[in-house]
């Protein structure tokens, strides 16, 4: 069992997202994240899907996706060199001046931006890999009492020359 990545080209039509996500729930596949947006062709959407599975199930997932009429192309990008990032906002509430500076320090270490602030709160805007976002969340929850998080799921594109995620 490990994380796998699929880049999925689908028709940009009503119901396609429901159909794809329905496949994962209906067949008990372990969907980790799914993002979708249009591509350079407005009638084509591209999904970035992360799923945790074994080899056999993953093969089956790709075949099942492939046989959907609305699916144009299934690309397995699990082992391809990628650019992959996820947008995350974290709001830290009810904090004093000491804690605020801690947040600024963390932001520097993680190379994320403090994008908004109030008297006793801050918002971090993080563009990191999913794994780094996971780590940041863990840390924030440990250090601060009131943290609210929204994250968008990862989007990925095959890299030209770099092999780093």
């Amino acid at each position: 069992m490990r994380d796998r990545w699929i880049s999925l080209y689908v028709e940009n039509q009503v119901g396609v997202l429901a159909k794809v996500s329905g496949l994962f729930s209906g067949k008990n596949y372990n969907l980790q994240s799914l993002t979708v947006g249009t591509t350079e062709h407005e009638d084509v959407s591209r999904m970035t899907i992360c799923v945790t599975s074994d080899d056999v199930t993953f093969e089956q997932i790709k075949k099942q996706l492939n046989r959907m009429v609305e699916v144009i192309k299934v690309v397995d990008i699990t082992s391809a060199p990628l650019h992959m990032k996820e947008l995350l906002y974290a709001r830290i509430n009810d904090i004093g001046p000491d804690e605020m500076s801690q947040v600024f320090q963390l932001a520097e270490v993680f190379k994320v931006r403090v994008c908004d602030a109030g008297e006793d709160c801050l918002i971090l805007e993080c563009l990191l890999t999913t794994e780094s976002n996971d780590e940041l969340i863990k840390l924030l929850k440990k250090k601060f009492k009131k943290v609210s998080i929204v994250r968008g799921g990862a989007v990925a594109m095959e890299s030209i020359s770099i092999s780093k995620r």
């Binding site: 429901a18 056999v56 089956q60 009429v69 609305e70 699916v71």
Partner: protein, 572 residues
Amino acid sequence: MSITGRKLFVKALLEENVDTVFAYPGGMVTDIIDELYKTPEIKVVLPRHEQALVHEAEGYARATGKTAVCLVTSGPGATNTITGIADAFYDSIPLVIFTGQVSQNLIGNDAFQEVDIVGMTRSVVKYGVTVSDRELLGRQMKMAFQIAPAGKPGPVLIDIPKDIQLASGSGEYPSYVDIRGYKINTSVHIGQLKKAYKLLKNAKSPIILAGGGVNIARAGDSLRKFAEQTNVPVATTVMGKGAIAYDHPLYIGNCGMHGKYSVNKAISECDVLFSIGTRFNDRITGDLNEFAPKASIVHIDIDTASISRNVVVDVPVVCDANAALDKLLEWAEPKDTEDWITKIEAWDKEHPLSMRCDLGLCPQSIMEGINKVFPKGIVVTDVGQHQMWASQYITLNEGKKMITSGGLGTMGFGFPAAIGAKIGAPNQDVVCITGDGGMQMNMQEMATSIIEKANVTVCILNNQYLGMVKQFQQLFYGKRYKITCLRRNVDCPDDCKGPSGACPPYLPDFVKWAESYGALGLRVTEPGQIEDALREAKANQTSTVIEFLISSDELVLPMVKGGNAMSEMILK
């Protein structure tokens, strides 16, 4: 030229050479129905329930090989079709289902008879869409007729809002549409197929396993030739039954949960399992770790997703059964399989397929009676014990086919599917073998049978129980039958262990019920009456219901308990 949606709808059906539509009227399809009234080329069949409507279409599609067309209204009309659609999906039956929908300005308002039928059926159709633009109607109808029969056939649902039916727009119906996400593999991968053949060629004890895909591809003829040219024995699944004639010397019988002992034994012992058009359903394999443990497995299937899903195969070949067999025929050379066949015959002698027949009217004798009186035609079954007895004892060949609900196992399938088959093949005798439980799930269709003059011989094997469930309760659940007994009423004791003289009368009286529709009703209680009753039914000018009163203690044997290895058969 600009025409209305309803006119384009009918034009499309005509261009698709649709001669029959199974339709149930309702508010959101009245316009289309009205248009169909003006179209004498298309016969409109009115069933009595939308679930049965789809089963009738399935029977029609199976009997004719054509894509069948259904038309129902929105809301309950649409939801009633879902069971039939799922059945067609699991058994790969090409259907196009048109549902009416409320006008687009009402969608989402919880309007009268509004449901999201496309959303509800998403997991049981090949493709489903609500037409959102009058200019897309022609294209989407064409897509439906292209997708339904292609590759692994199946149902396609097109939901048409009322305003689209009325709106004027292009009168063009395309002769072909390009669907970029749906390209069927029509070629044969010669390299893979050669590898597959090489395995077979070097095998000492090979088996060809033919599934429903062989029947769907109408590849029976090529299968027989291939088996003959290689001398390799052929086993079938329930859905593959009839792919080769029952009396062919190389045919060894059905495998699976209620298959023959010798066939399951042969699959357990074979060194190459050459399978074509089967998805290795759990009823075929039993415990996957113990399935064909000594064999290298070849799997030929049109559907990539069916390959290496349940059984890990050694040589996968993605292609149509007919295309593969035609290519294989070019290479086929005779093998010496005499010892192997002798071995299988010895296993068959050890535990031949036959019932005890000491509990009164014997299901095996009924099946043999049907074989004798109806040597040709179409046998349609419902789901349950009778279905398995039919799969064991009904004999099929080029002139006789069986239609059954294999994948979904839909009770209530048999009778309407038989009517649909008769409508599709009016010159053939159609026999419906059903149980007293399944018959009651769609018995309203007797009206359809009578008004359409679609005469079928309905053989109800009445054991007063939901027999297949009872069999499980008898063997594994301490013989507790409270709601499996169809004779029970509120005065019965909770711990009833079986029928006695004190039981309430069976409901309904099937003979009187049949007569109330103007059909012929017969009741058979003695073995000597079986053939006479069947002959009377065959000669009758309306549908006939024959109620065979059989013992509730009859079991379907041999049997493999779900999840057990195929070699662990319960024989007695």
